[in-house]
Symmetry: C2
Subunit: 448 residues, 2 copies
Amino acid sequence: MKAEIDRRRLIALLAGSVLTHTTLASALGPARRMPRVDALRLQGTLERLSTFGRPAGGSFADGVSRVAYSDADVAGRAYAMALMREAGLDPGIDAAGNITGRRAGSGRSLPPIVMGSHIDSVPSGGNFDGQLGSMAALEVVQTLNDHRITTRHPLEVTLWSNEEGGPVGSGATVAAVPAEALDRKFGGISMREGLRKIGGDPDRIADARRAPRSLHCYLELHVEQGNTLETHAVKIGVVDGIVSIDEYDVEIRGFANHAGTTAMAERRDALLAAAQLVEAVRDVTTRTPGRQVGTVGRFEVFPNAPNVIPGLVKLSIEFRDLSDATVARLGAEVAERARQISARTGTEISIVRSWRDDAALATPAIQRQIEASAAALGLNSMHLPSGAGHDAQNLAKLGPMGMIFVPSVGGISHSPRELSRWSDCADGADVLLQTVLRVDRIELGAGA
Amino acid sequence: MKAEIDRRRLIALLAGSVLTHTTLASALGPARRMPRVDALRLQGTLERLSTFGRPAGGSFADGVSRVAYSDADVAGRAYAMALMREAGLDPGIDAAGNITGRRAGSGRSLPPIVMGSHIDSVPSGGNFDGQLGSMAALEVVQTLNDHRITTRHPLEVTLWSNEEGGPVGSGATVAAVPAEALDRKFGGISMREGLRKIGGDPDRIADARRAPRSLHCYLELHVEQGNTLETHAVKIGVVDGIVSIDEYDVEIRGFANHAGTTAMAERRDALLAAAQLVEAVRDVTTRTPGRQVGTVGRFEVFPNAPNVIPGLVKLSIEFRDLSDATVARLGAEVAERARQISARTGTEISIVRSWRDDAALATPAIQRQIEASAAALGLNSMHLPSGAGHDAQNLAKLGPMGMIFVPSVGGISHSPRELSRWSDCADGADVLLQTVLRVDRIELGAGA
């Protein structure tokens, strides 16, 4: 049986992936002593999942639009629940629409090890973000089933609902959801309607809350979505934590006037001020070394006609770093620059913070188990922060947390061109499996 | 009769306007020797015209939306035609939707003096742009009627259709209209449908062409739409000409990627490049002295989400100056800056010229008559270019052309806040009347 699995895995590696020394080693070497995931089975579930929300007439390479609460989301969730039932996990849906299946452990009254991720996508997204971690968690359970291994702690697999919109579903497990949040629209329907559509219950959303310390730990495998691992030719990323995010809504008010009749010296051009602010964001972010990032992504000009001097620009600024203090400092520096730009251009600039995600640090003891698992599998690893938000940032509020990254080809994400090699996906799932087995044997108290 | 007119005019000045020494002089002084327009009647027609397209529940101060081919445009045109009939001008509509009424002259087979402007507006526009020149031309005819004055040349008053969209109606009198131009949409309906709606005939649009040299001259009174006259405390602008306009469509292509996971050094941020281009437009425009203007008015960012690095920006650049050479030089300088920005930011920048209006110079002999008319009325005057396009730029292709400007309060235009003082409107109409009487007596050959 094991020889058969290894042979199928080797064929998969040869067929679908670049064959590297690490993947070869993992297929032929330590595998004789360790249970290994079925790489082909994992690839199969990801490929099948990719068909729910695939553009009409498209292929795997055309990515997916499986926005939360859409028909594609409903169909993908039904498929995932069928997989759970196949794996012996009897899945249920909580009031926030999160799907959880449970596998019993041998230890009486121990809290569960929770693995999870999400299967909703951004519009025109890729086939790996969230989906790899979700299918890999199920693959870990199937592999344990194949090898008749029972862990001490119960295992739970949770597919969090509407990660791309928040993360929303995992957020509901750690904090109260304000009534007005239920009116927010996602892909045209409100969260309230959406929850009903996917089997949740907006009227009882408070029931989705989980008590702190109610789990042994939370583990999530994810594609990096950046190119740090690829650049360093490293297979496994050990996530230090998820960055802090401050997002600001900015409004710049000048005066709209006729582009032909208003002398340059008389203008109060909101777009000119906004252009200077875009450059200021870049400048304050890059003038000190570090991994911090600063982005102006939303940018709207009014009245937006070729022959009218812009009177109003609305834009977003966001800063991210693992250090909350760095993120706060960048915001203060840009606010000072904005005051100078305002004075220079005769415009009014208002900056209001619209969002704050505090940094969520991964538990050091779990980071060590991920490193050890990678090493045992012959995979090199490195530490890095997650610049993207993840459900894990919410789960970190309930107990110990760890995240595993695998390389994203070209660092591309939230795009149909998002890609991770099948061999890297299987390596990541194997690290997840080994990490589950390792943390199952240790205590993970506060400050672990 | 004349004493009665002067008394009414004085009351109007006292009631509705700031009383200045110039308006007082024009009401009491030289008026005994010159025919003068009826300021109250002119104000009345402008106020009545403002009700067609006025926002529901609004007042004169709320401006007007009388976009070409709209129901408001149809209603405004009907009102203007009724005024023409009252003034003894039997109005007709040509294939391009232009309304023309004619008053016979005493000279046999002399070409007409044409006065005109437009009554269509931009969405949420003001009550003076085009409308003053239109109602003033009718007021000049009424004043000549009141005084039983017959000019040597016939007089024509033309209200050009859809000035704000082109100028479209006056354009059809000087050049062939391509078939595809008839499909262009204005306020939701095509020019073809629009022309039928206002009494034109898209199938016979070529009939709107006029032969060169078929008119004695074209005269247009207009609000300045800038603040040069106001800044210099001058009552009458003698327009040197209408500026040349080059407009460019620009596309900047970077690479859209996740704002959290893409290191600053790895980014190809289309918005950063666009911001630098906005500053370059400002810089090349202002580094040499002169009245040239450069504007980025349309600016769109894709995909336009706070957490995605912009991959594409589309924007417009336009340059205006009375010198075609200056406008061309500014375009070349910005193209060179764009090459530098492209190299620096890792983006591709394409710049395509989408529009060119050559400068239209006003006829010097008419400029001199406008100056002399203002002086005779006790009004100070100055020369200035028109930074905005006008129907006069098309008519300049058919024969001698002159334009008269009156001050715009605050230089505001294309806005409900567009405003010119009633006394300044009347002064402008008086200058138009005197200029008509003066040019009626002189030859205006080529190079006049």
